[in-house]
């Protein structure tokens, strides 16, 4: 029986799973190559950035190969006997991650973070974290969920402290590692409870078990009551892990200190890559674990179920769904408001961007809450809400990358990171200043830039979902946009209007850095004017997510 099992596993791995994981394999190969490159003396002269760059580009190429026939044509299939799930969303999110990896490699080389001698360590960690995030994007099994998160987090702890000798980076790494370990521990415990209660570790089956469980509990027998209580606790604990990765409200304490301590490039990586991966993972958990379709009584008769009653109809997971929506909606509102309020009085640029990241985590959670609310009886709407998340995340990638890259560039030229030090930047370093201003105004969400379309899609999802939670979120989002204007505009004002310090000669970053900043900033404007292809791509990615 064993040989057939081994032979079956070999076919599955070789024939089905590996071809669809080409990018991950490439990343592994690159990591190994990077590690081995230092051993023979002859190879020591090669700058590790070229190895890293080729590895990243090849990985991106493999991925684009996967998405040859367009995202809609990808059939969802479970890889590695149910460990990973290969579908359009997986391809799209990994595409974003790998593209971001390429940009990170180039950025860290140009800003000198990854110099010739210790660049190797930096890239290994970078690729390791990205590998972990790719796994998170396609997790379909509780074990891959946990593994993915850990593989993404642990290298990040070290990345935060990559700059040797500075007490602040050491302290940041320490805080991040301890807080991350604690959060991972809590999540792990939650996962164990969840698996125990529902008797499975495979996400789809978890969903079915949960649906059956709901049916029995509706009969109201007391024995199941304890199970329901434990289930609620387990669900919450799992969501704690997610909240940590997303830096959502109660679990955001690590973010400001880590971003302030870590170098700006790592800040970019944390705020964009790990957030995108966490969002995709949350979407997967939500779409698989909280099933739909299997409803006890047939769809409610009557033309167009009134939206306001969506929350209370008797779908199988309705009570769980209602609870999760409420939880995520509150977390979103608190995160968003807290992030914006705290950012008002910031002076350090990185810390300001940290709170801005927390605020945008709040905005990103809102359409997820809408998606869950919609999943019950409007799967297409729910997919639309998920598409909104992905569109917002894609736009956010360019915005934050440009912002952090600019902070890094200015750190290298003016050696300072407080906002006052950016005075009159537009006269001494015009390209950097314009890129930074575009990022700031894009993060604020003004229309001609990509930030607006993400926010519009998110608010549209809220309005589609309807219901008291959603209208509350709409009001919170609208007010927070107005609130966030103050600190984004203060940065733009300092850069454009204040007079540059006397001694500041023309300290422009060198040409390649300026080119990178331009490449980072251009999509903000171009996607702002013609966001259609990105929006369609995001739509196709989330097409079948909610069935």
């Amino acid at each position: 029986m064993l040989p057939t099992l081994v032979e079956q596993l070999a076919n599955d791995t070789a024939g089905l799973s590996l071809p669809r994981s080409a990018p991950e394999v490439t990343l592994v190969v690159t990591i190994v190559a990077l590690l081995l490159a230092r051993v023979p003396a002859a190879l020591r002269r090669i700058d590790p950035v070229w190895i890293a760059l080729t590895g990243a580009l090849v990985a991106l190429g493999c991925l684009l190969g996967e998405a040859r026939g367009g995202l809609a044509a990808i059939e969802p299939v479970e890889l590695f006997t149910g460990m990973l799930r290969h579908d359009a969303l997986g391809v799209f999110s990994r595409g974003l991650l790998l593209m971001f990896l390429v940009m990170m490699v180039v950025l860290s080389k140009l800003t000198g973070l990854a110099s010739r001698d210790d660049g190797q360590d930096f890239f290994v960690l970078l690729f390791g974290a990205t590998l972990g995030m790719c796994v998170m994007c396609r997790a379909n099994h509780l074990m891959t969920v946990v593994l993915g998160i850990e593989m993404a987090s642990v290298p990040s702890y070290v990345l935060v402290g990559i700059v040797k000798g500075r007490r602040r980076s050491g302290e940041a790494a320490l805080k991040y590692s301890v807080y991350g370990a604690a959060a991972a521990g809590v999540m792990l415990y939650g996962v164990s409870l969840l698996a125990g209660l529902l008797g499975s570790v495979h996400l789809p089956t978890l969903g079915l078990r949960l649906a059956e469980l709901q049916v029995a509990s509706l009969a109201g027998d007391p024995s199941q009551r304890g199970v329901i209580m434990a289930l609620a606790l387990a669900g919450v604990l799992v969501l704690v892990g997610m909240a940590f990765k997303l830096s959502a409200a109660p679990f955001h304490f690590w973010a400001p200190d880590v971003f302030a301590g870590a170098p700006a490039e790592v800040g970019a990586f944390l705020s964009v890559a790990s957030k995108t991966a966490a969002l995709v993972l949350l979407l997967r958990l939500v779409s698989l674990v909280l099933p739909h379709g299997v409803s006890v009584d047939a769809a409610l008769p009557g033309e167009g179920v009134s939206r306001l009653a969506a929350m209370s109809d008797a779908g199988p997971a309705a009570p769980a769904r209602a609870f999760v929506v409420g939880l995520i909606a509150t977390a979103a509102a608190v995160t968003c408001t807290l992030g914006n309020l705290a950012a008002l009085s910031q002076t350090n640029a990185k810390r300001l961007l940290a709170y801005s990241t927390i605020a945008h985590a709040g905005y990103l959670l809102m359409p997820i809450a809408a998606a869950i609310a919609l999943a019950e009886h409007d799967p297409a709407g729910a997919s639309g809400a998920a598409a909104a998340v992905m569109l917002y995340a894609a736009g956010y990638l360019f915005l934050n990358f440009t912002a952090f890259a600019a902070v890094a560039a200015i750190r290298n030229t003016r050696g300072a990171e407080t906002i006052e030090d950016y005075a009159g930047l537009i006269r001494t370093a015009p390209v950097t200043a314009v890129a930074f201003c575009l990022a700031m105004i894009g993060l604020l969400g003004l229309p001609p830039l990509v930030g607006f379309w993400g926010k519009l899609a998110a608010l549209r999802a809220l309005v589609d979902a309807g219901g008291p939670w959603m209208v509350m979120l709409l009001v919170v989002a609208v007010l927070n946009t107005a609130l966030s204007l103050v600190y984004y505009l203060r940065v733009v004002k300092t850069i454009c209007l204040d007079a540059p310090p006397e001694d500041a000669g023309v300290e422009r970053p060198e040409r390649p850095t300026r080119l990178l900043l331009a490449v980072g900033a251009a999509p903000i404007l171009l996607l702002g004017i013609a966001p259609e292809w990105l929006a369609r791509l995001a739509g196709e990615a989330c097409q079948g997510l909610f069935g």
């Binding site: 301890v178 209580m229 609620a232 606790l233 919450v236 969501l239 304490f253 939880l327 705290a342």
Partner: protein, 707 residues
């Protein structure tokens, strides 16, 4: 050409000629103004300015001819009967549409009846005389060239030197043409909106004319004051218009007069409001009691302006409008008009008899005479009131032109610096005497001989007597004009004495010289009008009153009683023309005049004593108390504005929002303090967060299970 087509075309020509001259002079003025030494002083050389003047005079001449032809055509179409002919037909129509929105249709329309034609002739005649007269009066405007042409001693300069400025005769004629166009617009207007439009345009052009010497602060202030007083009146008129629209849904006079009896019956209150509102406009424009403060100050403008605008035409527009909208006015409104008129004529007359400024006396005399016209219209004497308007235009213009030539000669307005000018200026003195006599209403009652003032004042007194007879409780409306007549005679005699009789009281007065030919001829023409306006054309019964009677509204033909509230009955035409009433009115009028003259002679003892008894307190009331009221209103508005823009805008609104922003910033700061940086606290918060969230979830699960 039938009258229906001839009259409108003629009057259209008369109306547009001044507009053409205004446009030409406006463009020519700016093009011809050359730069002198890099400074753009707007100096037009004398010859060009005079040509512009001639163009303007020509234009108004064309209007005069056209108006006279129109009058002739009207008379041909309506042979004069015995004065009580049924109301002649009025030609109404529209030249071109202007505004057409929803139910509202406003166009440049005309409503031509006898009143319109007579007014057109009067306006254009007086305007022509003033145009000619101004050449002489404003001669020094074109005396020299360049920016230093004219010296203006009344404009205070920083270093006290005499202000020198470029001559601007062309601008004077430009504004004068605009005024004539606007005035004819009011006279010809066929719907209420057009009346209102040209009503304000007349106000604006009087603003420009009063402010001709804008370097003088007094003139600038007077111009602004005049416009604001008119605007206050126009607000009432606007409310009247809005109520009219709410009530009738149309502004066309012809249709309004047809519908008036119906909605007067059904909506009496609203109809009264309409009438009262429109009369407010007349109060503002014709300087009736509450709003008369602006007219004396308007004397700051050049004297020809005072002669034309502030005596004969513009101020008479109020009376004309009351005459035009007479059918719309309820009895209560008419009584109101009469009482306002009565009070005004008393106030005007008393203030006129104390002032030391020559033009100010004439200004208050105008206020008083306008009071008479309003009183007459209010009492139902439609023809009498408007007849007095015509005659007043004549002799008041004459008096003003005379005053102009006196000031031109003596150089000051102050009566105390004049005296004994009859020797130096015999012609002016003679003409002024004619004007004074006409104003007094001198004439023999029984024989029907007398100057124009006598006939029109006599007609007014007939209605006063008839009204007093039918409404004994309103008898004061008879005594007021009587006392007014005494005062009128008194102040005009005082004026004559102080100016022309007695010894010259200043050296300038000694060697004053007679005005040039160009000023005396127009005065003569106007004097002829002042004398002959009252008489009928020999051989036929055609006279101004008979002409006006043709289009007197039927409401005036027979007695009319108002609502129970006032219980007033207005006398009809026949009751005013009974023999005994006419006799009583005649003797009363001439008696009052004689008493007035003798008292003035006694008081001023042949021109030696300028001061009138109890004059100082009255002057104090006039020159200080009344202006302080309007200055007070302005100050209150400015202080209220300062309160609004200061404490309210900056304090309340901005302060409030800044407070809110500060609150947000402080909460933000608070959140920063939570971020203490200690690792153990973070993990503690993590644990706390886990506990809180799970407790919440258990609670929800429990409630759901039991729920």
């Amino acid at each position: 050409m039938t009258p229906e087509r001839l009259l409108p075309t003629l009057l259209l020509l008369a109306w547009l000629a001044p507009l053409a001259s205004f446009v030409v002079s406006a463009i020519a003025g700016s093009l011809l103004s050359r730069r002198h030494g890099g400074q753009e002083g707007g100096a037009v050389d004398g010859a060009a300015a005079r040509t512009i003047g001639h163009v303007a005079t020509g234009a108004i001449g064309v209007s005069l001819v056209a108006s006279v032809l129109a009058l002739g055509a009207w008379i041909a179409a309506h042979p004069a009967t015995d004065g009580h002919a049924p109301a002649a037909t009025a030609y109404a129509g529209e030249w071109f549409g202007v505004l057409d929105v929803g139910p509202l249709h406003v166009g440049a329309a005309y409503y031509i009846d006898a009143l319109t034609v007579v007014m057109a002739v009067v306006v254009t005649l007086v305007a022509t005389c003033v145009h000619v007269y101004s050449f002489g009066y404003l001669a020094e405007e074109t005396a020299a060239e360049g920016l230093e042409a004219v010296a203006d001693d009344e404009a205070p300069t920083y270093y006290g030197n005499k202000l020198r400025r470029a001559g601007r005769l062309h601008r004077f004629y430009q504004h004068l043409s605009l005024f004539c166009f606007a005035m004819l617009g009011v006279v010809l207007a066929g719907n209420a909106v057009m009346t209102f439009a040209f009503w304000e345009l007349v106000g604006a052009s009087s603003y420009l004319l009063i402010g001709f010497y804008y370097e003088r602060p007094k003139a600038a202030a007077a111009a602004t004051k005049a416009m604001l007083f008119n605007r206050v009146g126009d607000v009432g008129m606007l409310v009247g218009l809005m109520a009219l629209w709410g009530l009738a849904g149309t502004f066309d006079y012809e249709r309004l007069f047809a519908m008036a009896p119906t909605w007067m019956a059904s909506h009496y209150g609203l109809a009264t409001l309409v009438g009262a509102g429109l009369f407010c406009g007349c109060i503002g424009k014709s300087a009736q009691v509450p709003l008369q403060g602006w007219l004396p100050d308007a004397m700051a403008g050049p004297t020809p302006v005072s002669a034309l605008v502030h005596s004969a035409t513009m101020v008479a527009a109020g009376v004309f409008l009351v005459g035009r909208i007479y059918p719309l006015l309820t009895v209560e409104v008419l009584v109101g008009i009469a009482s306002v008129g009565a009070v005004t004529l008393l106030v005007g007359a008393t203030l006129a008899s104390v002032s030391h400024d020559l033009k100010r006396v004439l200004a208050y005399s105008t206020v008083s005479q306008l009071g008479y016209m309003m009183l007459s219209l209010g009492l139902g004497g439609w023809t009498a009131g408007l007849f007095h308007l015509v005659t007043h235009a004549g002799f008041k213009a004459l008096l003003f032109l005379g005053a102009g030539s006196v000031i031109h000669a003596v150089g000051t307005n102050d009566l105390r610096a004049m005296g004994g000018l009859r020797r130096a200026m015999p012609a002016t003195a003679g003409l002024m005497l004619v004007g004074a006599l006409a104003l007094m209403g001198a004439g023999v009652p029984v024989l029907g001989l007398g100057l124009s003032g006598f006939f029109s004042k006599d007609a007014i007194f007939e209605y006063a007597v008839a009204f007093a007879r039918t409404n004994p409780s309103y008898a004061w409306l008879f005594w007021a004009p009587l006392i007014g007549a005494v005062l009128t005679a008194a102040y005009i005699t005082r004026l004559g004495l102080l100016t022309f009789v007695g010894q010259a009281r200043s050296e300038k007065a000694e060697h004053a010289h007679e005005s040039p030919e160009s000023m005396l001829v127009p005065m003569a023409v106007v004097a002829a009008m002042a004398i002959g306006a009252g008489w009928a054309v020999p051989g036929s019964r055609l006279s101004v009153p008979s002409l006006l009677a043709m289009s007197a509204p039927e409401a005036t033909h027979h007695a009319r009683t108002g609502s129970a509230w006032s219980g007033v009955t207005l006398p009809g035409v026949e009751s005013a023309h009974e023999v005994d009433v006419r006799a009583a009115a005649g003797w009363a009028a001439i008696g009052a005049t004689l008493v007035g003259v003798t008292s003035a002679l006694l008081m001023h003892r042949g021109g030696r004593k300028c001061e009138t008894p109890a004059g100082a307190p009255m002057r104090q009331f006039d020159e200080h108390w009344l202006p302080s009221v309007s200055r007070g209103c302005d100050a209150v508005a400015r202080r209220l504005g300062a309160f609004v823009s200061g404490p309210l805008d900056r304090g309340a609104i901005d302060g409030g929002l800044a407070g809110a922003a500060g609150l947000l910033k402080s909460t933000g700061g608070g959140l920063r303090r939570i971020q203490t940086g200690s690792l153990r606290q973070y993990v503690f918060f993590l644990a706390l967060g886990v506990v809180l969230v799970s407790a919440a979830s258990l609670g929800v699960a429990l409630r759901w299970i039991n729920g």
